[in-house]
Structure formats: structure tokens, C-alpha cells
Subunit: 350 residues, 2 copies
Amino acid sequence: MTTLPRLLEAIGPLDDALAAEARRHLDNLTKPPGSLGRLEELAARLAVLRGGPPSVARPVVFTFAADHGVTAEGVSAYPQVVTVQMVENFLRGGAAINVLARQAGARVVVADFGVASPLGEREGLIACPIGPGTANMARGPAMSRAQAIGAIEAGAALAEDAMDAGADLLATGEMGIGNTTAASAITAAITGAPPEAVTGRGTGVDDATWRRKVEVVRRALAVNVPDPRDGLAVLAAVGGFEIAGLTGVVLAAAARRIPVVLDGFISGAAALVAAALAPHAPAAMFAAHRSAEPGHALALAHLGLAPYLELGMRLGEGTGAALFVHLARAAALVYREMATFKSAGVSGPA
Amino acid sequence: MTTLPRLLEAIGPLDDALAAEARRHLDNLTKPPGSLGRLEELAARLAVLRGGPPSVARPVVFTFAADHGVTAEGVSAYPQVVTVQMVENFLRGGAAINVLARQAGARVVVADFGVASPLGEREGLIACPIGPGTANMARGPAMSRAQAIGAIEAGAALAEDAMDAGADLLATGEMGIGNTTAASAITAAITGAPPEAVTGRGTGVDDATWRRKVEVVRRALAVNVPDPRDGLAVLAAVGGFEIAGLTGVVLAAAARRIPVVLDGFISGAAALVAAALAPHAPAAMFAAHRSAEPGHALALAHLGLAPYLELGMRLGEGTGAALFVHLARAAALVYREMATFKSAGVSGPA
């Protein structure tokens, strides 16, 4: 049984001695010290989490879907029905995340955390609906505190199942028309940045819709006034069911010291909530990329994470995280497979 | 028989109509237009080169090795013998490029273009020695014009063999103690940037050695005075045999419109020479990453290329190019495998 307090208690600081050992190992490999740049830093972080040579053999991407009551305010370029249509696309394997996860050798866990249209029993779909979409956060809380906890624990349970089955790297992804509005509100609430600084174009809204979206974020925060130090309060006030589920994935990974890769802006918001609940959680997080959404950089700065890829992506689904799997695997393979100066008979500096 | 004039004549402009067609296809896929950022731009470029859906099924990395007479000036942190020792490491599969190319499903072609110590017949090593290392460019030309042409044509011949065997993406890499000094001089000569702006720490030299290295680059240019518009003159004056070989790989790829991935600073210098010889060659080039070497950004700007990865790497060998293969393959798979809005029954913007 997954309970939130058990997860939070398990998330503590990492051992500094392991970092020094990883650094020593990397400096003995046949290359000038540090010459693989951030790939070495990544390898060292993975080694510290694992307590030895890292491995990225069985990555799993969690692509959680849900709808958002705030779409009633006209904040998205696409109609709400696209959420369920894209879930169908995920199940048929035709979406970007399917293509990129296949390439990365990653399994995709598609879960319904509360899509408005009923999906029914579907092969490959995990049903964890918390409700038929959130309530409209511009007029009151998006969900109850009990729903927030339920969604976190449901996401954590899926992550624990995957780790029990051998997953050695978890990655977050999502689909939900309206969820950049929720992520903007979470990011504003937790980082303290103003709504206009964290709110972006999402799927591609025009200027008028963008201004409306900023006002909706401002109103949601004014109506709900969540305490920024209380992650659950923020999540319940302005979050989303799929976002809460991803918070659960992040917490479950951090509790077992399994690396958890954050995709873009919405995943970053889920991670902000996780860090508010468990201050040591970011030690297990990896920022796959920097999204084109302006709030994402603020979220990553708040988490103390530097993104590895900057490709101007803003699709979500877990696509940036899936691309990052190749870098994480490269770092792990360098750590495990490169020859040392001694084993290869290569001279050191003159 | 590979002859340089034939290659240069084959390198012309690409067809703009193909770019519009690629853009149209990408916009029909189930994602907001442009939401995969630079992955879409990359997919479009690959599609234009191929004249249809791109493929990155058989990548080949060319890791060419040679020694540099300029090491006599004390410009490197490592002794010259490390070049041959690292070639041995490549042949045994223990170097970073072996690890990263294996991961990327890429074959590595290791060729001796002029290592000072004799390597003899070795399984997996291709012998194209132009001489036992270049002459010291600080005191005269590094090589003759005939040697420069010979090395280019030898590199091009290896690239053509690989393309004949089905390679659909070529990548450049190198090993040669002293070759960042040569690359600095080439970059200064062709871009017009001053020696102190293009000269970096290479394998990791200290302040005093860095100042000496800058002076050596300045002296090499003052002694040889190569015409910056004459790529062969620059290569002969201040180049390297492995660099010339890579220029040949770039030209051969561009001549057949096969994508050619540039690794770091030394590969960038080889590409500068290729672009000086064939102004349309950059259309086939992809800048895998931005190296930590300061001259690399200047070289890429001169070529009109924006790097895809920025990981602070500075190892060479082709390591950054091998990492980029995953991104190129991702772009090709997105182009080929994603569902369209129509095929998936997903609604467009409201």
C-alpha cells in the first residue's frame, strides 16, 4: 500500500562520499578529466543514486492524461476532446511519445487520471480516474485535498509497480488540454513569479488568448490563495489530476533513489509540488530539456536543476524525457565500459 | 577514383520546394505545429537532403588519427605518444567513441592518416598515412599542397566506400595530440578572428601553456600567411593530415547529399576548409554540439550552423557526433512513423 507519509519519510539526502568515488572513477577513464562535460556530471549523479556503476537498461515513461475545468475559460487553442483523442493515439502507438519511447527502448505507461469523456476498458490503458476532469480553478479549487492525495498515491503506486518489475529510470509525461494553465498557476504559486512571467503560449494560442490565460492564472491564485509552502494546498487549488499523478511518480522514484527524468513545463510543475513536499527530492530529478514555455526555466531554477537539452520543444507527453534517455544511457555506458588509462596503457599528462 | 574537382562540382544548392513539402508533412502530424522545436527543423533538413522521408539506419563515424609537428612547441598537456596509444584503444574498443558509437548503432572507421609512431598492419585499422606527422607549422607549412589534396581524397574515398555500402549518415571524429592548435590556426585564418579568441585549453593546458599556444598560432599564421579564400592553402599551411581527411569526408557526403555530422572544434575546422572549397557544402552539414573550445562557436557561426547539443564536451574522437545520432534518428522516426491528424482522428485547433 502506497501512502504519502511513508514516501516523504524515505526521501533524504544522498551520500557525499559516493560522489567523490564516482568522480575518481570518471577521472581514471581514457580521456582528459572533464572532457565529456555534462555527460560526466550526469554519469556521476546516476552513480551516486545507484551507489555504484549506473545502468539505464529498463526506462519507463509515465504518460498521464486528464482534463481541466479551466478550459471553460477559453485558454487553449484546441478543444477539450483532443485529450481523449490523443489518449487513443497513444494506445495505437501513433503519437510522438510512442515513436520516441520505442527508439529509446522505453515502455510507455498510459494512464487515465480523469479524462472528461469516458474511455472504458481499453487494452494498454490504466484507469485511475480521480474525476471527470478538475473543477474550474478560476472559480474555486481544482480538486479537494483528498483527491490530490489520491492522485499522488495512484501515480506513486504505478511507479512502484514499474520499479518492482525492474525499471531503472522513470520519466514523466502528460496530456491534458488546459494543463499549461494549471502548470503556470502552480509555478507562479510556488516560485513567487508573476503570472505573466510563467504563462506561455501552450499549444500555440494567439495574443488575445494569451492575455486571457494570464488573467485566468491571476484569478485562480486570487480566488484560492494557496500557501506556497504547502504543496498539497497548491496542487488542490490550481493543479490537475495528471499533474498530481506525476508528483507521485517523482516521489516514489526519489524514495527508492531511482533517477526520475522530468519532461517539460507540466512535469516541472509536478516536480515543484514534489520538492515542496520533500525538499531532498530534487537529488533524484533530471531536467531532460528546457521547454519553450517561459515558466519552465523558472521552475528548473527553483528546483536547482540545469536542463541537458535545449531544443525549443513544447509538446509534452514525455517527448523531451524520451530523448534524454539516450544521454542518460550514454553516461551510464561511459561509466561502465570505457577503458582506464592503466588498463589501456595510455600515458597521462606530460 | 576520387578526385577533388569532381567532388566540388557535384556540390550545389538544394531544392526549396522539398523544404516546403517537408514542412507540410510535419505540420500534419499529431502535435501542435512546431511543438517539437529543433527536432522538426532537423527532420525537415534530413528530408530535403534525401528528397523524401529520412532514415538514419546506418550511420558511420570516421575517426581519423595523425600527429602534429607543432607539438615540438609544447602546446599540449599530453605527450605525442598518446596519439598512437589512443589509436590502440580505439582498436580494442575501450575509448569513449567506441562506447558511444556502439550505443548509437554506428560503425567506427579508424584510419591512420599519419601517426608518428609506426602502427603496422592491424585488424580494424585503415592505413592512409600521408607522412609521419605534419611539419611544425610555426616554422613553415605543415604539409605540401599535394599532401593536402592526397589526404582529402583519401578521406573522401573512405566516405564513398561507406556510402556505397549503404551508410545514410556520416560523422566526423579525430585523434591527434596538438590538433587543437592546428584547428585554432585554421579557424583564425578562415574566420579572421584573432588567435586569442579561437585558441582554447585543448586537453587541459595551464595558463602559461595557453599563452604559448596563442603565440604559436600567431607565429604559424605570420610565417605562412595563407590566403583565407584558398581552402587548400590554409590546410597545407596550418592543417593536419587527419583534418584534411575529414574535409574529404565532408565533401564526399555533401556531393551525394548524405547528411554529415560535425563533431567538435577540429571537425569544425575541417568543415571550414570544405566550405571554403565548396560554398554549398554546409547544406549537408549538421553541427552535433557546441564544444567547450572557444573557437568552435566562431567556426559554426561562419558556417551558418546552430549546434543541437551544448554539453560542454571537448573530447573529440567523434563523441559529440555519436550522441547527436540519436537526435537525428529521432527526427527521422518522427517524420516516418507519427500518425497524422487525419489518420488518428484527432481534432485540429478549435
